[in-house]
């Protein structure tokens, strides 16, 4: 036992020695919500590749689970202590993280929010993200056009993320409803719409299990649901299982957001009608480039025109294109997919 402890202590010491040796020159930090979600895995790949190309030392940190705020704060503190030039951050708790981010900026570190805007958005130097409202809007417009005249008496279920209604959840949901032509009431809140076409919404935690349970709950409420908005593709796959178990998988339209490889495959197989694809790899590589520029001449990245963040783009992926909504097919979507 003692021997084991001793040898691991030596291993640890030599590892931290190696880390110290590598920390000369420009270094950057990537802090993600978790390191298990394929989206963040892809993000890390993109950042690592770009960092190597530009000769930047990249240290990656991640929360243990989605919503693990403390680990992210500790990671920011570590980056400050390490003398990093820049931090790429996908925050779990978008408002509570702000003081820690401010501390880093005060220390002369460029902080870029990836994928998830901070609250307020200008708490970070810049945000590189998908326009989630637009992502929702595209699938909403597609669903409306795909239904044609039947859109007027559609029965809509929305399968959202979780009860705390994080920004990404609200943006996708409200974008979808707006795209479908539904009055949003307060665009910052899910579930305050009064349109009778909405059967209801339920939460999925963004996974298959939750997607299935939520779909079942809403089907029990109204078995005639024929349009389903899902927060992401795993939730969509779960919803499909629930529909299959009552034999309705072929007459319900499922739309989603993300563009992961299994999700695109599901679009190809007709499980999902259309999905809005986002590009985590691009967010990360753009982020590293921005840090390199900051380290070189102190220049900061600027926002996309007309928006308060840098839009890394979104594309609708479907094999059943409709008039008036631009889209790419699943072959192209597969080339661009992540995870």
């Amino acid at each position: 036992m003692k021997k084991l402890l001793l040898s691991s202590a030596i291993a640890l010491a030599s590892m931290s020695g190696a880390a110290l040796a590598g920390s000369h020159g420009v270094s950057a930090c990537l802090i993600t919500k978790t390191d298990t979600n394929p989206f963040f895995v892809k993000m890390r790949e993109g950042a690592t590749a770009k960092a190597e190309e530009l000769g930047i030392t990249l240290n990656s940190y991640a929360g243990k689970i989605d919503g693990d705020h403390e680990t992210q704060v500790a990671a920011i503190e570590t980056c400050i202590a390490n003398g990093a030039k820049g931090i790429l951050l996908t925050a779990s708790d978008t408002s509570s993280i702000v003081p820690a981010v401010q501390q880093a900026r005060d220390a002369g570190i460029l902080v870029i929010a990836l994928d998830t805007p901070l609250d307020p958005i200008d708490a970070a130097d810049m945000t590189f993200a998908t326009d989630n409202f637009l992502a929702g809007q595209l699938i909403g417009q597609w669903a409306r056009a795909a239904l044609g005249d039947d859109a007027a008496n559609a029965k809509i279920a929305t399968l959202d993320l979780n009860v705390s209604q994080p920004t990404v959840d609200v943006l996708r949901n409200q974008g979808f409803l707006q795209g479908f032509g539904i009055d949003l009431a307060d665009p910052n809140v899910i579930g305050d719409e009064s349109d009778p076409r909405i059967v209801g919404s339920d939460v999925t935690d963004g996974n298959e299990e939750g997607g299935r349970r939520a779909m079942e709950n809403l089907l029990a409420k109204d078995p005639t649901i024929n349009v389903v908005h899902t927060i992401n593709e795993p939730a969509a796959a779960g919803a499909y299982e629930a529909l299959k178990s009552i034999g309705r998988e072929n007459d319900v339209l499922i739309v989603s957001v993300d563009g992961g490889c299994p999700g695109i495959q599901n679009v190809k197989d007709g499980v999902i009608g259309a999905t809005s694809q986002q590009y985590p790899l691009l967010m990360a590589s753009k982020g590293i480039e921005a840090i390199a520029a900051w380290a070189a001449d102190g220049s900061k990245p600027s926002a996309t025109e007309g928006k308060d963040f840098f839009d890394t783009g979104v594309a609708l992926v479907t094999d059943k294109p409709v008039d008036g909504v631009e889209s790419i097919d699943t072959a192209e979507g597969t080339d661009l997919c992540w995870g």
């Binding site: 390191d35 298990t36 979600n37 394929p38 895995v41 689970i65 009860v163 579930g191 209801g200 339920d202 939460v203 996974n207 298959e208 299990e209 299935r212 349970r213 079942e216 709950n217 809403l218 029990a220 409420k221 795993p234 796959a237 779960g238 499909y240 299982e241 299959k244 178990s245 299994p262 495959q265 599901n266 197989d269 499980v271 995870g339």
Partner: protein, 353 residues
């Protein structure tokens, strides 16, 4: 205090009353109290039936239909199976935080062995089940032989197994359509049959059979009584000839096996093999056990209670969603139920004297 001098006589009086307990007419509340004490699953059963009646009255046939009621069974099957494993461990005064992680990694092993290495699904499933049992046995060995606290052992094992799950699976989801095409055996627990509008999956049938078998085994076999004895007082059990260590290891190993079965049922339930599912199974299973009236101090409670506990959570979840309540209310009410369940448990124990 003079009353302390009268200690003996007071005890004498009390004893006389207790001695006449069976024969004498007691008030209704006393009898009820007694019934609750002798049948620990009664409280959760009453709560369950009351909840079903209330939601039935509020929601009518939307809730009170064979479809909706059996839907609840389908929704609680995974938690129900895992909670059965959790019950066994908690009856020995232990706790198992690694149950969900074992279930998920077992399901990942079943899937990846089939798809990555091309092993026949039957053998892959057997490997998954063996893996779950082995991890459970390792937990048991650390608890029984190394004398480590169960909370610590399984807290560590939870992290180890979960990390191994992500490392091994590379976070890769195996899609439902691929499984249905190439290895339908993995989705075996998802097969379903209808009985007059009621829908049962094999996973649900498995859960119910598992609970019934465990209830019988715990009550009517030597091993089952040993489990209770070890949880109640391990030293006394040891002195009366129970092999405490072997009993503990067998309990954890069996719990691991049951969790692996839950992993198999999970594939049937969600169709795909997803390494990110089941993250909260440990907490949800402990919730079911506590609401089901099993004492966290071990040695008391029944596995039927756990089953009812899991169903209560399912009834509240579906009922509140059908009623259109915000999902947050479900968590709030379940929190209330947990505390109420333990409070009732304390009240029942008072009559034990």
């Amino acid at each position: 205090m003079p009353s302390s001098d009268n200690y003996e006589s007071v005890v004498g009086k009390a004893n006389a009353e207790i001695a006449s307990f069976g024969g004498r007419d007691k008030s209704l509340i006393d009898r009820f109290h007694h019934a609750l004490h002798t049948t620990p699953a009664l409280v959760p059963l009453i709560v369950l039936v009351t909840a079903i009646i209330i939601f039935g009255l509020l929601l009518g046939t939307r809730f009170f239909s064979p479809f909706a009621l059996t839907l609840i069974l389908q929704q609680v099957q995974i938690v129900g199976i895992v909670a059965a494993a959790q019950s066994l461990v908690i009856l020995t005064a232990g706790i198992d935080l690694s149950v969900g992680a074992i279930a998920v990694l077992s399901s990942v092993i079943m899937g990846q062995f089939t798809f990555r290495y091309g092993i026949p699904p039957v053998i892959a499933v057997a490997c998954g089940l063996t893996f779950g049992t082995a991890i459970g046995a390792l937990n048991g060995w650390l608890v029984a032989r190394m004398k480590l606290p169960p909370f610590i052992v399984t807290l560590g094992m939870w992290q180890i197994v979960l990390a191994a799950n992500f490392l091994y699976s590379q976070n890769e989801t195996i899609r439902s359509q691929d499984i249905a095409e190439q290895a339908p055996l993995l989705q075996f627990m998802g097969n379903k049959f209808n009985v007059g509008g009621a829908v049962f999956t094999f996973g649900v049938v498995f859960m119910v059979l598992l609970v019934l078998i465990l209830a019988y085994v715990l009550k009517h076999t030597a091993w089952g009584r040993h489990v209770y004895a070890v949880g109640d007082d391990p030293e006394a059990a040891e002195l009366s000839g129970v092999n405490v260590k072997r009993t503990l290891i067998s309990v954890y190993a069996l719990a691991g096996l049951i969790c692996a079965f839950a992993g198999w049922a999970l594939i049937g339930r969600i169709g795909s093999v997803s390494p990110t599912s089941g993250q909260l199974l440990n907490i949800e299973s402990i919730t079911a056990v506590v609401i089901g009236g099993i004492s966290l101090f071990g040695g008391r409670g029944s596995i039927l209670g756990t089953f009812f506990g899991a169903l209560i959570v399912g009834v509240f979840t579906l009922g509140l969603r059908l009623a259109g309540a915000d999902a947050q209310w479900t968590f709030l009410l379940i929190g209330v139920l947990i505390i109420a369940a333990v409070a009732v448990d304390q009240w029942i124990r008072k009559v034990a004297a």
